[in-house]
Every structure is written in C-alpha cells, then in structure tokens.
Point group: C2
Chain length 320, copies 2
C-alpha cells in the first residue's frame, strides 16, 4: 500500500508508558526517537501533558507530564526526526503548561475523549489549534459508544472543531474488520476535508488487520508501537506497519534494531507484560474495559492463569 498521505504515528512511549507508569529512561526514549527518525516515521507520541497537581511526580515517571525540558533533551541534536505529539486527557491536563507552538518542543496535541466529553474535547482542540498546534480528537471506546450519540459527536466535531485528524479508537480491542468498515463509513459520512485516523488494540490479534482495513477504507493516520507494547494486549506493531506500507521513505531496519536490543529483552525480563494474554483476549471479545483483565493478571493473584474463571467472572459481571 503506497498512498503518500498515509502517516505513521508511533506511540511506544505514550501507550507503553501506561504499562510502567511512564518511567522509561531518557536514554531509552532518545534511542526510540533516533530509530524512528532514521526509519522515516512521521510522528512520535511521547506521553501525556498531565498536571502534577493531580498526579504525583514520585509515583509517575516524566512521560506522564512531558515537561518541555524533557522533550527537548530527547530531540537534542537529532535533525529531521518525527514530529512530536503529546496527549491530553480531558480534565487531567495542566493547560497553562502548554505554551504556544513557537515556544514549545512539540508539534501536535492529541485530545482523547469519550463521546460524552466531546464538547470539552472540541474546546480543547480549538484552544490548541489557536496556539498553532496540529490537533487530533481521539474518540475512545467507540465500540461501546455506537449509538446515535456517536453520529452527533462526529457531526459536532465537523461543524465546530478545528481538529486536523479525527481518530477511530478501538480502546477495548473488540472490533474485527467488518466493524471497522462500518465505523469508517460512519466517520466518512460526517468527517469531510480532514483526515481520519485509526488506533487499534491487539486483544484478539486483530490490531494490524484492522489497521490495514481502516487504511483500505481511507484512514491516513495510523498508530503503532514497537513490538506492540501498550496497555494490556498492546497495539498494532510499528514494524508490521512499516513492512506493509510501501512508501520508499520508510526504512524498517532501525526499528528492527530497537526491537532486537530493547523491546524483546524488555518483554523477556517480565517486569511488565503485554501481548496475547488470554484474559485480555476475553475482555476484547466481551467488549469491556481491559482494567479487570489487567487486575486479574496481578502477580499476587493465584488465579491469574485460570482463564476459565476469568471468562466466567466476565460473563457474570456482564457489560460494565
């Protein structure tokens, strides 16, 4: 697939940070940024712009806050690297810490919101747009919010927001390709003259297939992480995206190096886990938030590998 409009956004540090409380070392983050620069990847999302009035700096690492100084250290001396994106969660950010684009070391702000918070998301996006940033709205948990509210939210984004990209996000890893098709139809019906993005999760080993499907249906922004690191089952892998996309500007080899030297050893070490883990597969199949499955996998739960018990618990608690 070669469509020059397609952009790859690597969110290894942001989504991977959800697994280790955003405690990646500066050295590691810089290594990832350098590899993505050499690979020709378009964007790197580096973390959240959260407020330290709400979250403790002793509990969380630097990529929960993404101080400008930390981002500058990552980029220093690396020319022509990916544009840097930060994520803003509704109600958790310190908006005053986000200076105008021309004083900042990042280019894009992604606003993550549930359908119910779409008014707030639009206000955020328009503020960041006025400050000079590229912006996205990432509509989370779309597999749970598929009622008419979703169409209204899309229409409202189209009418009122300055967002450059509107993302379809499969937060629970629940979709298969036919559902992605149907959602892309709804998005394209409402979102005109701006790009559509897709962010999958790999609970049912469908993140890459669904991303391909979204691309086939017109999505031009696609998210990946190195070796799929991310909360729970993780994400579409960046190396698979680069192996699939035929744009000659992409070079998979620097990414393979980081997967070799950093990601596979990190997974083997076992302090954090992600990937094809049956309780996460089950939460994806049931279309529920991964938090219960992640809690089930706690090291001190003697039942963590009792998958039947988790399945029966999930049936029992139903769709909440």
């Amino acid at each position: 697939m070669f469509r020059p409009e397609i952009k790859v956004l690597d969110c290894t540090i942001r989504d991977g940070g959800l697994v280790n409380k955003h405690k990646f070392s500066h050295e590691f983050v810089r290594k990832v940024y350098k590899a993505l620069a050499e690979a020709g990847v378009d964007y790197m999302e580096i973390g959240y712009k959260n407020s330290d009035k709400l979250f403790s700096r002793s509990e969380y690492g630097p990529w929960k806050f993404c101080d400008d100084e930390d981002i500058r250290k990552v980029r220093e001396g690396i020319e022509n690297g990916p544009k840097v994106a930060v994520m803003v969660d509704i109600g958790r950010a310190d908006l005053d810490a986000i200076k105008d684009r021309d004083e900042s070391p990042f280019e894009m702000v992604r606003v993550a919101a549930y359908v119910k918070d779409i008014d707030k998301a639009i206000a955020h996006v328009n503020r960041f747009n006025a400050q000079g940033y590229e912006t996205t709205v990432n509509i989370m948990a779309s597999s749970r919010d598929r009622g008419p509210e979703l169409d209204e939210a899309l229409a409202q984004i189209q009418a009122e927001s300055k967002a450059d990209v509107v993302y379809l996000v499969d937060s629970f890893g629940h979709y298969y390709q036919e559902q992605v098709d149907a959602m892309m139809v709804r998005y394209k019906d409402k979102i005109v003259g701006r790009e559509i993005g897709f962010h999958g999760h790999n609970n049912m080993q469908l993140a890459f297939g669904n991303t391909i499907e979204a691309i086939m249906r017109g999505a031009n922004f696609v998210d990946g992480t190195l070796f799929g690191i991310g909360r729970g089952a993780g994400n579409c892998t960046t190396e698979l995206l680069l192996s699939f996309l035929k744009n000659p500007k992409y070079d998979i080899r620097p990414v393979l190096d980081v997967v070799s030297t950093e990601m596979v050893p990190m997974m083997k070490k076992g302090e954090i886990e992600w990937g094809y883990i049956i309780p996460l597969m089950i939460s994806g199949a049931f279309n529920v938030h991964p938090k219960d499955a992640i809690a089930w996998r706690a090291n001190d739960n003697p039942e963590r590998d009792n998958y039947r018990a988790f399945w029966e618990k999930t049936v029992g608690t139903g769709l909440d």
Copy 2:
C-alpha cells in the same frame, strides 16, 4: 458469525507436531481430544500418516505415523468427540497402512499438495474417497503459486476429484485480507458444490483476521490450534475462533482450561517456540518459506535476535 455450515478443525497435534517432531505424549493428546469434545469442535487433526520406511520411529514421535492403534487409544471412552483427521503428504505416506474407513479409527484424510503435484493429490483423494473417507485437498503455498497454474489446478480438482473440501492455505503467512478476498473469488469461481476451507499462518499477526475474512467470503472449514501452536509463527488460535463463532454448540471453556494448564506452561518452558517472532514476521512479509527464519532462531545461532541481519539476508537471497 453463526452459519451452521461452518466447521472448526483443530490441528494442534498435527501442526504443533512440526515444532516437536510429533512427540506429544499420549496423555496430552488425549487431554486435547477430550477438551475439544467438550467444546463441540468438529474435527481434530492428529498428525501425518507417514511411512516408517521413509522416517525413523526413533527420531520422530507417534503423530508422524498415526498408527491406528495410537489413534484408538486417544479416542477410547470419549463419546461424541470431534471427527479425527489425518494428513497425507504426497510421496511420504504409506498408502497400504490406510485401511478402509470402516476398519479405521479416523474419519477424514487431508491431502496436502503444492500446485505442481495436483494430479497426484487428486489420485490420492479419489482413492481415500473410494475407501469411504471424507477428504480435503489443501493447496499449500498458494501465495507463491498464484499464476494461471492455480486456476488450472482448481478447475482440475473440480472436474476430476471427489474432494469434499478444497483448502486455501497461506503456508508462508503472507496474505492480508484483501489478498484472501481475491483468492476466495478465484476459488469460488472454480469450486462449486463443495466446501472451501482456510488455513492461515500468523507470521504477521493476521491468521485470525484472514480466517474471519475467508469466512465472510464463504469458507466453511476453518483451522485453528490451541494458543496458536504451530511451525514458526504458528496458526490462528482455536480459542479466538470459538470466541468469534456464535454457534451455540461451541463452548470455549474446556479449551481455555487446556490453554491454561498445558499450552501457556509449554510456551513458558521455552523448549519449543512459536508466535510473534520477528524473523518469521520477515519471512511472511517477503513471502518465503519459514525454514530459513526457523533455522535463524536456532539456539546456537548467536545472531538469532539480530533481526536487521535476518532482514538483510532475506533481501539478499530474494525470493529463494
């Protein structure tokens, strides 16, 4: 998806046997058969009917040969279990060891053949059909044999063979869903009045997505293995298939039990490997046989985790 015609064939023991020289214990094979029986799975493929004139019984385990007596021991006392299938490779089987269906402990023979061997495959299938078996032709490496020879082979199977099912096999784990679509169109154009099957490999994490795609396009026989065990990257997982298919006769829970108690511990033990392994991802992307990637992963290769080197080697050797 609920279409009563859809049949699930679990080939854990057969495809998984390629990873451990078919040395699964009788106890394990029986446990798998019992779980599949309770889960309502339709078929279980138990191994190859290979000749011990060609392969050594000291080098390989029982499921390379599938003696009738071994199969009987697995099934003994388990009523209403899956039908049992054995696989026959062209030129490797001891045809005289395959008695007529009414004297045998298995119901189906699957004949695996490259396009070039399709005449032999048809002769085999017709022989087994005359002996009373259900039969399939599994056309291997279809991603490499996509010329007009494939259409001729399909036409010939349709005209001359008694096969009940004709399989599209993605031996190299190379397809993504659009290619599965295109292949299903070619199959349906030629294969009429019998079923089409799909057997995927998971090199690019697309085995399940491609299987769904094949189902959407009309395939009614789909293969899976427990926790995806299989040569190289492995297969579509049986538990994902059962979570997707809505036929009320399927019960995923006995399968989850075996994944808990047998498959995850087997993977953790590390004597055999399968799954998302970058050299296998690369061989899938390049559409080459997995053998070089598997050789690269040998424990005594100090470069086994140097993925860039394997990528460059694969580029260098090209399409072998």
